[in-house]
């Protein structure tokens, strides 16, 4: 099967004060297939959000810069080469995105209705009344009751979960093929989180969406993802089908992350953590980027960075242990 969205060697850098360069995303390749959910997990600062914004060319340039050697192919066409007009059509068109904070992602001085119809009209439905009808349909689609009344309300009159539903409705206005969801539930209450996740899965089934779910929450990834890619220090550390990744993690970083998830059935005095600090994007460690925090690290890890290794193409890990399993520390 051909991927719907194919990312190849995407590198995004930021020029920092003092002449430093932060390479927030460094040579990332990803495939997203039609109808699947790919979870991109990682700590704060691992480059997840920068990657998502780079896919839509929404990085402020300057100070940001996307390396022209990278490619982001949607149905085989490289959108990094497109001009501003074509980019505008693909944003909110084939490629839609929702954000972490629904409250601040909606314009406080415009009604929900005018924000949705505006998006509908920007994507090929210029007629005002037809756009309004479509807005009502979209609100009903995302499970908002009494959509007629909601259209006339301002964002602050809605609850957080309702606001995120409105954001999703807006993202759906252009009939996207790919939905990028950047921490869509992080700002919401736990019960509302589940409702939004269920809504996303439901929409995905009904509309055949491919979803790139960006999250730091492994539990959430386990719940909805078909495949998981773990990001560390601007690179993909491990990628695998969800079940395989959670049952048999190969990269010590994935292992440490899974170990750090608090479990209700284990009584511990202290929550386990991944030792050390995440590195800075201005000075990634040489060799394997995880080696300063890795309990298995040996000379080879300090000297050279592994590529994505694996016994089969489905499960890849950027770790020398794949090569030399005997080196695994007890």
């Amino acid at each position: 099967m051909k991927p719907l969205l194919a990312v190849r060697d995407l590198t995004t850098e930021f020029a920092m004060p003092g002449g430093l360069v932060a390479r927030a995303v460094d040579g990332v390749s990803l495939d997203l297939y039609p109808g699947e959910t790919l979870a991109l997990v990682g700590e704060s600062g691992s480059g997840k959000t920068t990657l998502a914004l780079s896919l839509l060319r929404l990085i402020p340039e300057p100070p940001g810069r996307i390396d022209p050697a990278g490619r982001v192919e949607l149905d085989g066409a490289d959108i990094l080469r497109w001009d501003a007009k074509a980019l505008r059509r693909v944003r909110g068109g084939d490629l839609a995105m929702i954000f972490q904070e629904p409250g601040s992602s909606l314009n406080p001085v415009m009604t929900v209705g005018s924000q949705i119809t505006e998006t509908v009209r920007a994507h090929g439905q210029p007629d005002r009344r037809a756009a309004r009808r479509r807005a009502l349909e979209l609100l009903a689609d995302v499970g908002i009751s009494d959509p007629d009344r909601r259209l006339g309300q301002y964002p602050h009159q809605l609850s957080g979960g309702m606001q995120q539903r409105v954001m999703i409705a807006m993202a759906l206005a252009g009939n996207p093929k790919v939905l990028i969801a950047d921490e869509p539930t992080t700002a919401l209450d736990v019960t509302i989180q589940l409702q939004i996740l269920d809504l996303l899965s439901d929409l995905q089934r009904r509309l055949g969406l491919a979803v790139l779910l960006i999250t730091h929450d492994l539990g959430l990834a386990a719940r909805v993802a078909d495949r998981v890619a773990v990001m560390y220090a601007g690179r993909i550390a491990e990628s695998a089908p969800a079940a395989r990744l959670f049952d048999h993690p190969q990269h010590p970083y994935t292992e440490a992350l899974l170990h750090a998830v608090p479990r209700i059935d284990r009584d511990v005095a202290r929550l386990p953590v991944v030792p050390g600090q995440p590195p800075l994007a201005t000075q990634w460690p040489t060799g394997c980027r995880f080696h300063p925090r890795c309990r298995h690290a040996w000379e080879r890890c300090r000297g050279a960075e592994p590529s994505l290794l694996g016994t089969d193409q489905e499960h890849l890990a950027r770790c020398w242990l794949v090569d030399e399993p005997a080196r695994r520390a007890p």
């Binding site: 839509l56 929404l58 505008r88 059509r89 693909v90 944003r91 909110g92 068109g93 839609a96 995105m97 954000f99 904070e101 601040s104 992602s105 909606l106 314009n107 406080p108 001085v109 415009m110 505006e118 998006t119 920007a122 994507h123 954001m167 807006m170 993202a171 206005a173 252009g174």
Partner: protein, 263 residues
């Protein structure tokens, strides 16, 4: 309350022809009716040319308030356009526009006005409005630019871009409406300030020129008689002070209610 007071002021100005007992330019009785004190026939007395002071004050209000309002409309329009352009474009455009504004702000406004109006002698009221407006937008442009710069970092602007909305639409429908609160506040304070400057210019004889009554030239007319008929200068002076205060009160009240940063 400030709003009601300003509303009342404009109502009075609008109704000046109805409220004024006499024609403000009519010289009623040059022999016996000069510099009369307040009486039933002339509630505020008459001036040195035997014109009814109340009528002149009312017509003066009409002129002063409309000149100030129109000048502020010009100033806010230009200032908003420049500030929006500078804030959105950034880089060289922003630097060029803002350094020009800095340079313009370095010239004292009243001197600038005096020079322009002295050279443009026959421009009349329209010239006065235009010149007051075009020298009054610098502050607004700075304010709008700062506001736009912070607004364009906001999540909903990023979200609007991610939804593929055109840049002009984001500028006019998402950024500008969120900046209206400080613009309205500064416009209100600007009206008071402009009334003051217009009065000063008219006092100096280069703003509203006789025989048209304006508070400024009424004060100028009255200053010769400060010892004998002090109300000649005090009445229009008090009108200026009260009006400017009203606008300040309204501006502050608006700032408190609609500008979220002061909450």
């Amino acid at each position: 309350m400030g709003l009601a007071a300003v509303g009342l002021l404009y109502l009075i100005a609008l109704l000046a022809p109805v409220l004024a007992p006499y024609d403000p330019a009519a010289q009623l009785d040059l022999v016996a009716g000069r510099l009369l004190p307040a009486s039933l026939a002339h509630p505020l007395g008459t001036d040195a040319l035997s014109r009814d002071l109340l009528s002149r004050l009312l017509f003066g209000a009409r002129l002063s308030l409309s000149i100030a309002a129109l000048a502020v409309v010009v100033a806010v329009t230009v200032g908003t356009a420049v500030g929006l352009a500078a804030g959105l474009a950034g880089g060289v455009v922003d630097a060029a526009l803002m350094r020009s504004v800095d340079a313009a702000l370095a010239i004292p406004r009243v001197f600038l006005l005096i020079v322009i109006l002295a050279l443009w002698e026959h421009g009349g009221i329209a010239a006065l409005v235009l010149v007051l407006g075009l020298t009054g937008w610098f502050g607004t442009s700075r304010l709008v630019r700062a506001e736009v710069q912070s607004l364009k970092q906001r999540d909903f602007v990023l979200a609007a871009r991610a939804l593929g909305l055109p840049a002009w639409r984001i500028a006019l429908r998402h950024i500008l409406p969120n900046a209206t609160a400080p613009i309205i506040v500064s416009a209100t304070l600007g009206v008071g300030n402009t009334i003051l400057i217009e009065a000063a210019l008219s006092f100096l004889g280069i703003g509203v020129r006789p025989p048209m009554p304006s508070w400024g030239n009424m004060i100028a007319d009255g200053q010769a008689f400060l010892a004998t008929a002090p109300w000649q200068a005090i009445v229009p002076g008090a009108a200026v002070v009260l009006t400017v205060m009203t606008f300040s009160v309204l501006g502050e009240a608006l700032r408190e209610t609609i500008d979220p940063r002061t909450r």
